[in-house]
Every structure is written in C-alpha cells, then in structure tokens.
C-alpha cells in the first residue's frame, strides 16, 4: 500500500517538474522574442523589400482634394499623398498592400485608412500582378485645419510566407512585423520632384 | 493483503473495463458521426429543393404560409437581343397570403423551371418585359407589406432553349419548406 502511494507521489513530482520546466523555457523564449530592438532606418531612395512587395518610394506631397485620382475625399479637405512604385514579388495576383505602410501617428490620425489608387487609371485598390511594377498612390485625408507636415514618417511592415497555415493547410502570408522606418520630405502639390536614387 | 493478490484483482477488473470500453465504441462511434453530421445535413436539406410536391393545374397549394396557384405559363414574343434558339417564358402565379410574415416564411424564395431531364432554369434579370404595375416577382413581394387575405400576382421571366419549352414546368422553393418544393402541373398533364 505504502509502495503504491510512493510511486504515485513520484509520478506527480515528475509531472510537476516537467510542467515547470516547460513553462520556464516558454517564458525565457517569450522574453527573448519580446526584446525591443530599435527599428532600422530605411533609405528613402532605395528599394525596400517586404516579402510580398518591392517598394520604391517616389514622392510625398500634400494636395487639395479636387483632382486626386478620383478619390472620394471630403470637399475642401487636404490630403497627404505618397506615390511609390510597387512590384508584386509573389506568384499570384494580390491586393494585400493595405498594411504594408503605416503612417506616423503624429502626422495622420491612426484611424484614417489610406485610399490606395493605381495611378495609371485611378482604379481604387486593384489587384497587382506578379512581376509587374505599378505606380501607386497612398492617399491619407488630413484632419481639418491640420498644418501640412514637413516630413512623413512611415513604418514598413512585412509578412512571412507559410506554405501551410495551421487552420486550413493552405499557403499564405502571415505574422505582420515592422522591418524599419522611412522618412520622406513632404512637398506641396503633385509637381513635387521624384526622389532620385 | 499481499501485493500479488492486489495485482491479480486489478488485472481482472482492468480486463473487464477494457472489454466494456471496446463495446461502448460500437455505440459511441456512430453516435459521434451522427452528431458531427447533424448540422451539415440540416444545412444541405435546408438549401436544396429535393422532393417535389406536385400541384395539379388549377389547384392551389399551401406553401410557406400562403396559397399558391399557377395561372399561366406561356412563351413571350417580340423581344430583341435574344440568343439564337431561345424563348422567353413567363410564369404567372396568384398567391393568397395566409401568414403575412413573408420576410421569414418566403425567405430564399426561388422560382424555377424544370424540364423533363431535370434541368433547372432560374429567372433572368437582364431581359425584362413591360409589366403592369400590380405584378411583382417573388423577391419583391417579400417587401411589399402584403397582409393576410391579400391576393398577389407574381410573374417571373425565364429564358429557355426552344427544345425545352414543351417540357418545362414551373417550380417554387422557399427556405422554410425545404427540402420540399412545389412542382406545378399544366392543363395538358
């Protein structure tokens, strides 16, 4: 009888130690993962690779809402426009570019989502096709009465490819994570010159 | 009590329980399957028109809380821009509203034509004919606010190939009655 109790105790102990070890390892790994590394500063004149996209910033400027690629802005509102060349690096047509660029919260209200327009013919957020560079415009509406910012700071976000996701076993791009920040001078009007490499 | 006796006792009870567990699987596995499938089967039956209820010419049938009667099925002529060898077909119904809660009882209302081979045609929206004001389609009637006792005239327009015009019969399905649907017979049947 006593022997029985002893072996049970032993089993409990082993299980307990194992669990504690697992929790400790997970905690340490989590701490390493959460370590805050400062984001690298990306050169605005270079090409930026985000996994799905190859980005080449062209120019940033503020403009009145009249002739802005047919975007439905509030009448009289000012908008911050970022023009860039985007190339789909994946094997499929996609429009997964809504989270690629995040404007600095001081410049743009974080709840305003940008309109994203194909500059070629003002199509609002079309799919972009593999290996075909297109000039796109991100258009943020500025709050009423806000002074036009002198520079635009952006966080560039990449996603990671998984050949099989955990839910459906299908390929896809997951886990958005920032890769760096980008600072562009903001001109006035669409005739601002392109950034030269 | 020695350890040996204890061992033997637990061995017999273990064997007994193993046998019970195995036998219970015979019951549990089909039960699990049934529970797992229940929702899917229900959704499948609730979305498809599987079992026809025939309605003789001139008679009306209770369906989705109202009385449905086929009043006319005829080809329409004089329409332009039609594909070759196709005939527009109009199906007219007279519905006496019983339960006025059409938004629930008529939900998913679908009128179709079924030919002798079981092919099914849905109404078309592109080709429309001039209709008098008091004629509605099944979907527009849902939002008409008709009250109990009202009589509605419904008309659906179809486009069918010429060879099928002889054998097509109108049919009607609503979500609240699926998998059953009404299959209207013509005068000549």
């Amino acid at each position: 009888m006593l022997e029985n109790v002893g072996s049970r105790l032993k089993a409990w102990l082993v299980a307990g130690i194992g669990t504690a070890a697992a929790i400790a390892v997970a905690g340490v790994m989590g701490a390493f993962g959460a370590r805050h590394e400062p984001l690298s500063v990306l050169a605005p004149a270079g090409r930026i690779e985000t996994g799905q996209w190859l980005l080449r910033p062209l120019k940033a400027y503020t403009a009145e809402g009249e002739s802005l690629y047919g975007v439905p802005l509030k009448p009289g509102a000012k908008a911050l426009v970022l023009e860039l060349e985007m190339t789909n690096r994946t094997a499929k047509s996609t429009k997964d570019y809504f989270d690629v660029l995040q404007a600095d919260q001081a410049t743009v209200d974080p709840t305003t989502k940008p309109f994203i327009v194909l500059m070629r013919d003002s199509t609002l957020s079309p799919e972009l096709h593999p290996g075909m560079p297109e000039r796109m415009a991100y258009i943020w509406q500025l709050p009423d009465g806000a002074a036009p910012p002198a520079s635009l700071e952006l966080t560039v976000i990449r996603k990671t490819y998984k050949p099989r996701d955990n839910l459906y076993g299908l390929p896809g791009w997951f886990n958005p994570a920032p890769i760096g920040t980008l600072k562009l001078p903001v001109g006035s009007g669409s005739d601002t010159a392109d950034i030269q490499p | 009590m020695t350890a040996q006796v204890l061992d033997r006792e637990s061995a017999t009870s273990e064997r007994k329980w193993r046998r019970r567990s195995l036998w219970s699987l015979v019951l549990l596995i089909p039960l699990t399957l049934a529970i797992e499938c229940y929702d899917s089967v229900k959704a499948l039956l609730g979305n498809s028109d599987l079992f026809p209820r025939r309605v003789a010419w001139g008679e009306s049938a209770r369906f989705g809380g109202s009385d449905w009667k086929l009043t006319d099925l005829r080809g329409a002529f004089g329409m332009s821009n039609l594909p070759p060898d196709s005939v527009p077909v109009l199906a007219d119904f007279q519905v006496k509203i019983g339960d006025p809660d059409l938004q629930n009882r008529w939900l998913g209302c679908k009128v179709m034509l079924i030919d002798k081979d079981g092919r099914r045609w849905s109404p078309i929206s592109i080709v429309s004919l001039k209709t008098t004001d008091n004629v509605q389609t099944c979907i527009s009637a849902i939002f008409s606010g008709a009250k109990s006792g009202d009589t509605l005239n419904l008309r659906e327009t179809f486009l069918v190939p010429k060879e099928a015009t002889k054998s097509v019969r109108p049919a009607l399905g609503v979500t609240s009655e699926r998998p059953h649907f009404l299959l209207f017979q013509l005068e000549k049947d």
């Binding site: 094997a91 499929k92 047509s93 194909l118 070629r120 013919d121 199509t123 079309p126 799919e127 096709h129 593999p130 290996g131 075909m132 560079p133 297109e134 099989r164 459906y168 076993g169 299908l170 390929p171 | 594909p83 196709s86 179709m112 079981g118 092919r119 099914r120 045609w121 849905s122 078309i124 929206s125 592109i126 486009l159 069918v160 190939p161 060879e163 099928a164």
Partner: protein
C-alpha cells in the same frame, strides 16, 4: 529490460511511420482543392456545373473600353490577353465568376479588376442549353504568354468543385518581346 527496449523501438517505428505518411500523403489543402477538368483551346471542357470552350486568344498593348459612357484607352505595364470563352450551364442556371491565367513558370494572373462586367467580363450568368460568350481579360508579363493555362471556376473558393483548366498552347515571342499578332488597341466596346 528487453520489454522496455522493444517498447522504445515500437515507438520509434510509429514516429517514423507517421512522419513518412505526413511527407508522402497529400495535404488537407490539396485534398479539398478544386477538381480540374482539363482541355485545350477549342475543346469543350466539361465541369460539374458548367461547360466551357475557349474560342480564341488575343493579345494587345492597349484596350479600348467604355467607362461610365466615356470611351477610354487602358494601358498596361505588360500586355493584355483577352480569351473569348463560350459557357453553358449543365444541370441548372449558375454563375461563372472567377478566372485566372497561369503562365508557364506558374505565376498566376487573376482577371483584371480595372474593367467592369459591362465589357463582357465575368461574372456571367449562364443557363442550361443556352451558350453564352464572355471575355476573360488578363494583364500579364509578355514572357508568361506562352504555354499558359486558363483556370475558370464558378466561385472563388471552389473547394471540391470543378475548375476548368484550358491549355492555350505555345505562343512564339517576337523580337520585340511580344507575341506576334499583338495588336496595338483591342476594342472591348464591340459585341463579342
């Protein structure tokens, strides 16, 4: 001792068996994927809900389209490929909504979103016994024009449903990098 060892060996065998199965057997995504119905240009490809027959493929540098009543010329960074397909429904009326162009290297170009369906673009409603023509319009790199396969299905997630896979065959590429017969402007305002 031997018993313990045998248990460990059994465990290892089970692990390697499971790993082998995982490597060699199709994955869930493949099992529930679309079911291909294959054919060539000009063949009638028979799927579960619809039949499709690709009549011709045309290439163009620009497209002339109607947009809100205005005539407009759409340019592209690559070339436009326009596939004229005749559809007919089989057992019941249905809608064909999704098409893409898979080039020889496997790059997949979805149907363009820069035109509206009034130009003959999908989705197209089809009925049994009544053939209907539609245009599938793609924007693609010229080097993806040859040996392409056009994939057509009724819905976007055509899990366990048929997908027509129409092989378009080889296309020679001219010295200018474009397929010969590439026209300057193709008029999409003309009826099909």
């Amino acid at each position: 001792m031997i018993r313990k060892l045998a248990n460990i060996v059994l465990l290892l065998v089970a692990v390697s068996l499971c790993y082998g199965l995982q490597l060699s057997k199709p994955h869930y995504g493949d099992l529930i994927g679309p079911i291909p119905a294959r054919g060539e240009l000009g063949d009638t490809v028979v799927g579960r809900g619809f039949e499709a027959r690709a009549e011709k493929v045309e290439f163009a540098r620009n497209l002339k389209v109607d947009r809100f009543g205005d005539s407009k010329v759409l340019t592209t960074g690559g070339i436009w490929a326009v596939v004229t397909v005749e559809f007919v429904a089989r057992a019941q009326s249905t809608t064909v909504a999704v098409a893409s162009w898979r080039g020889s290297t496997g790059l997949t170009y979805d149907q363009t979103e820069r035109l509206s369906f009034t130009n003959g673009l999908l989705p197209v409603a089809i009925d049994p016994g009544l053939p209907k023509k539609a245009r599938l319009i793609f924007e693609l790199r010229p080097d993806e024009a040859s040996d392409a396969v056009v994939l057509v299905s009724e819905k976007l997630m055509s899990a366990l449903d048929s997908q027509a896979e129409i092989s378009l065959g080889p296309v020679a590429i001219g010295p200018d990098g474009l397929p010969p017969g590439t026209v300057d402007t193709l008029d999409m305002t003309q009826p099909i």
